[in-house]
Symmetry: C2
Subunit: 199 residues, 2 copies
């Protein structure tokens, strides 16, 4: 066996560089938009020639993919952060608020994660698995509130992301649309409750 050393200083150094590159990539897309990310520009940011980046990422799409995974991991963490409220309704409100905050604070990130707008980019299976985890926790949170159908999940995501996408497209940096979040959620929850009673 080769596992004598617990730490691999080489691997650690490499990972640190990768993280640095990704951080620079986020800066870049926040400033110029996701579509504007270029290997050259990214290299310039981290003080390298563009070609040297290929030591860390095999292609530009691989960089997008790492960013996709990183952002989904961040979102998953935020959604699970803190104590779970006992009341499932409160929990849904809180999750929605976290989601909206996450999306509106970085439009470029939103574009990368939720709009299919980068030509030729599709997340890898591993990265997409994280996105699926996020959706699963949403499904579970809805389930605890008694919303167990696929239809519930579909409408729920449409309501929340509808407010977000309108906010980003028509009043970036403002609150004209997302300010209706709690009202829309309450409307939907009572709508479902009423439906249940009618059965």
């Amino acid at each position: 066996m080769s596992g004598v050393l617990v730490r691999d200083r080489r691997a650690e150094r490499r990972q640190a560089t990768i993280d640095e590159i990704l951080a620079a990539a986020w800066d870049l897309v926040r400033e110029e938009g996701v579509a504007a990310l270029s290997v050259r520009g990214l290299g310039a940011r981290v003080g390298m020639r563009a070609q040297s980046l290929y030591v860390y990422f095999p292609s530009k799409h691989a960089i997008y993919d790492a960013m996709f995974a990183q952002a989904n991991t961040e979102l998953l963490g935020r959604l699970q952060d803190g104590p779970e409220p006992g009341d499932p309704i409160t929990s849904l409100h809180r999750r929605a608020r976290v989601f909206v905050e996450f999306c509106t604070e970085d439009p470029a990130r939103y574009q990368l994660l939720f709009q299919r707008t980068i030509p030729g980019f599709e997340p890898s299976e591993e990265s997409y698995a994280i996105a699926r985890q996020v959706l699963d926790t949403t499904r579970q949170a809805l389930g605890r509130a008694g919303l167990t159908d696929d239809a519930h999940l579909e409408v729920w995501t449409a309501l929340t992301s509808g407010l977000v996408s309108q906010q980003l497209a028509n009043d970036p940096g403002g609150t004209r649309f997302v300010r209706h979040l709690d009202e829309v959620i309450d409307m939907y929850l009572s709508h479902i409750k009423r439906q249940g009673r009618r059965k």
Copy 2:
């Protein structure tokens, strides 16, 4: 005065070429995505060198702008097409259906019109005026149903475009999200009605 001739054959020919170029541009973005539109590729489509297109459009953004105007005009026409239903509620349902159909049948067009994702492109004042007209007719249609606040318009657009954007991003070509359109609209309308009664 120079207006002796009623028809200007030269101008007609020119307009026909412009229309032909725009039609080719739509084909191209439908196939490759809005971001992939290039003057070279467009020239190849219409059987010209790229440089010749500059006789008809001063820049690539001008082409985007003409497409933006054209698509909004098309949408405006469809929304006003046919007899206005006497019942304002029926009218709202019909408008929403037309809008959803318009958006889902051409994702590239949706991206150009409603997502702010083309780097550096902003519609001209004239083109944007048409988009504002579309929104105005929506405002009026809501008004006839008693929804007269800005908040109503904001929530209304968030609901409809939320279903559309989820549809396009997660089930393009399908109906998993937009199938809930009528239910969501009815939910919102009764929500507003209930609010009115409570006052």
